[in-house]
């Protein structure tokens, strides 16, 4: 069963993937093994597909570097739940199809707690009960229905919310 990895406030992009381990420096195949290298060195070797990250305020502040969330995608995390996200990072998460939910779970769940997260309905279930997470912003659902913004653009030749050409 997926487990919780709990982090504090202000987890920045250098925490998620330090700049010196960018794919073009560390190597395209291995850079994800440096996720949270300084703040949780055991993360990359112990995380399991579907595990859910819980953060505090302002998750993902800092750089626009998309390879930080790409590293998490390669490690197949199930989603990230934080009360607030930094905007560039939040966009990157949505663009990559990593489920991101704006909700504060820090007081409800702890490191290692087993959970199941239905990313389509936003229902998160743990031993303590069930939480309904808020859905992504309405204007993005159109894109997510196609899988990603890239897929939407390729199929329709326009952005979600934009009139057809």
């Amino acid at each position: 069963m997926p487990r919780i990895w709990k982090f504090g406030d202000s987890v920045n992009t250098d925490d998620i993937l330090p700049g010196k381990f960018a794919p073009f420096m560390a190597g395209e195949d291995v850079f994800q093994t440096f996720a949270f290298h300084y703040i949780r060195p055991e993360f990359a070797s112990q995380v399991r597909p579907g595990d859910v990250l819980i953060g505090g305020r302002n998750w993902g502040l800092g750089s626009s570097r998309e390879y930080a969330p790409v590293a998490l995608k390669k490690l197949q995390i199930g989603g990230i739940v934080a009360p607030t996200f930094a905007r560039i990072h939040y966009r990157n998460l949505l663009n990559l199809g990593i489920p991101a939910f704006e909700f504060d779970l820090t007081g409800l769940l702890d490191d290692g707690d087993e959970v199941s997260l239905d990313v389509n309905t936003g229902v998160l279930t743990s031993a303590g009960g069930t939480v309904q997470l808020p859905p992504p912003p309405e204007f993005l659902r159109e894109a997510l229905a196609e899988g990603s913004i890239l897929a939407f653009f390729k199929k329709h030749g326009r952005f979600p919310g934009e009139p057809a050409p």
Binding site: S10, N12, D14, D15, P18, G19, K20, A22, P23, F24, M25, G27, H37, Y38, I39, R57, N58, L61, G62, S63, S64, R65, E66, Y67, P69, V70, T84, F85, A86, R87, I88, R91, N92, N95, L96, P137, F139, I149, L150, F153, K154, R158, F159, P160, G161, E162
Partner: protein, 433 residues
């Protein structure tokens, strides 16, 4: 554009309305024309992969795309060299602009080249793309996917941000720099104080273009999507910018928050580890850190690597020597800055004081090359982030300050203010700017 209500608009609302097909207000979704897309070397490979593999597209307007090799320049490893080679080849194939190793830091180069102008929308694959707000361009950072979509379509989608209004009053004391103003602003707003929002700065005719770049650059450290400086002073008189009348925010526009900064009350400021909004007066930290040697001082980056920054450092360092046990690294923000500093003697002054000079580019700011920090080392930097592990080892400590404070620190080997540096005799100070 027709808006029956004619509600007053902020600068962000005005620019996004102008570049879209209808009038928009905070909270609206806008699909807008993009005037310039900037790609840095660190995402060039991902960008090319998205363009070719995911979108099967070429840049719709090659002249609106610039690739800048600045983050690790010159290359430090074979894999970096390979990525940069691919970027060069891609530019040659598609006709997009390429600024190669040594030309300088992306934001500085785009400004010098006139690739950010009032009313433009400039997207950059670097979070400090808010810098373009210095000339009233809506500059914002995005990841590789968004950047590729913008290059392929000539457009992007944006949620129109709410705006925070920052009004500056009074006159700066002579020992206080734009960096100090920016750190004060970030400290007041907090690291997430302007998330999803635009910071609209009202300085009147105060601040040069370079100083406005420092202010706009750091807005992302409060989480802002854009940092727009209302045009005035040098922007209107020095560079020949065409500043349209419509760009000024309307009286009565809606702001989510307003703060006022009295410049005359401001003293030199410094961010202590490990958050940019952890801001103190330098005098206070100097006393706390009296027994803490500073191992490295770095003057450069998109925040403070401009000619006026090197001048401020040289004014402190003229006739002085960097303290034993302290390294001073100076990296001009661009080849143009380097040339000016060479021609007016600034580089000689810095070199004689013991500075180590680097190739124009980002340098050690993000810990990839040219001066990374060892465990336990302390660095005073003119850069924009002091996160854990940012410039090297996780146990290194980074303090952020203005060029003058950084220079004084280099001379004293401890955190110091320019007035702490003992005066030198006339003979020692002769020569150089």
């Amino acid at each position: 554009m027709s808006d029956p209500a004619h509600r007053p608009q902020t600068m962000a609302e005005k620019i996004l309305s102008q570049r879209g097909d209808h009038v928009v207000y905070a909270g609206d979704l806008a699909v807008v024309e993009v005037d310039q897309v900037m790609v840095v070397d660190s995402i060039a490979q991902s960008f090319i992969e998205r363009m070719q593999r995911d979108l099967d597209a070429t840049p719709k307007f090659p002249e609106r795309v610039s690739i800048v090799i600045d983050h690790v320049a010159p290359a430090s490893t074979v894999s970096v060299a390979q990525a940069q080679k691919e970027a060069r080849e891609y530019a040659a194939q598609t006709g997009v602009r390429l600024f190669d190793v040594g030309r300088g830091i992306c934001h500085q180069v785009l400004m010098e080249e006139g690739l950010a102008r009032p009313g433009w929308i400039v997207l950059g694959s670097d979070s400090h793309s808010t810098t373009y707000g210095a000339v009233a361009a809506f500059g914002t950072g995005m990841g590789a996917t968004d950047i590729a979509l913008a290059a392929a379509s000539g457009k992007t989608w944006l949620k129109v941000p709410e705006s925070v209004k920052v009004t500056f009053t009074g006159t700066l004391r002579p020992d206080v720099a734009a960096k100090d103003v920016a750190l004060e602003m970030i400290g007041r707003l907090g690291a997430d104080g302007a998330t999803y929002q635009s910071i609209e700065m009202h300085p009147g005719d105060r601040f040069t273009r370079g100083e406005r770049m420092t202010l706009a650059n750091l807005c992302v450290e409060a989480g802002a999507k854009a940092g727009l400086v209302v045009p005035g002073g040098e922007i209107l008189t020095e560079y020949g910018y065409d500043v349209p009348e419509w760009i000024y925010p309307d009286e009565g526009a809606t702001y989510v928050r307003a703060i006022e900064i009295d410049l005359s009350a401001l003293h030199p400021r410094m961010s202590a580890p490990n958050e940019v909004d952890n801001v103190y007066n330098v005098a206070e930290l100097r006393d706390q850190l009296r027994d803490t040697p500073v191992d490295q001082v770095f003057i450069g980056t998109c925040t403070n690597g401009r000619i006026e920054d090197l001048h401020a450092a040289a004014d402190v360092l003229r006739g002085q020597r960097v303290a034993a046990g302290t390294r001073l690294l100076v990296i001009p923000a661009s080849s143009e800055v380097m040339e000016q500093a060479m021609a007016d003697g600034t580089l000689l002054t810095l070199q004689r004081a013991g500075a180590v000079l680097g190739t124009p580019g980002c340098g050690p700011c993000m810990g990839r090359h040219q001066g990374v920090l060892a465990p336990g080392e302390v660095c005073v930097s003119t850069s924009n982030r002091n996160f854990i592990g940012r410039m090297g080892d996780k146990d290194a400590k980074i303090y952020l300050a203005s060029p003058a404070v950084a220079a004084a620190t280099a001379v004293m080997g401890r955190v110091a203010l320019p007035q702490d540096v003992p005066a030198v005799g006339v003979a020692a100070s002769a020569g150089g700017r």
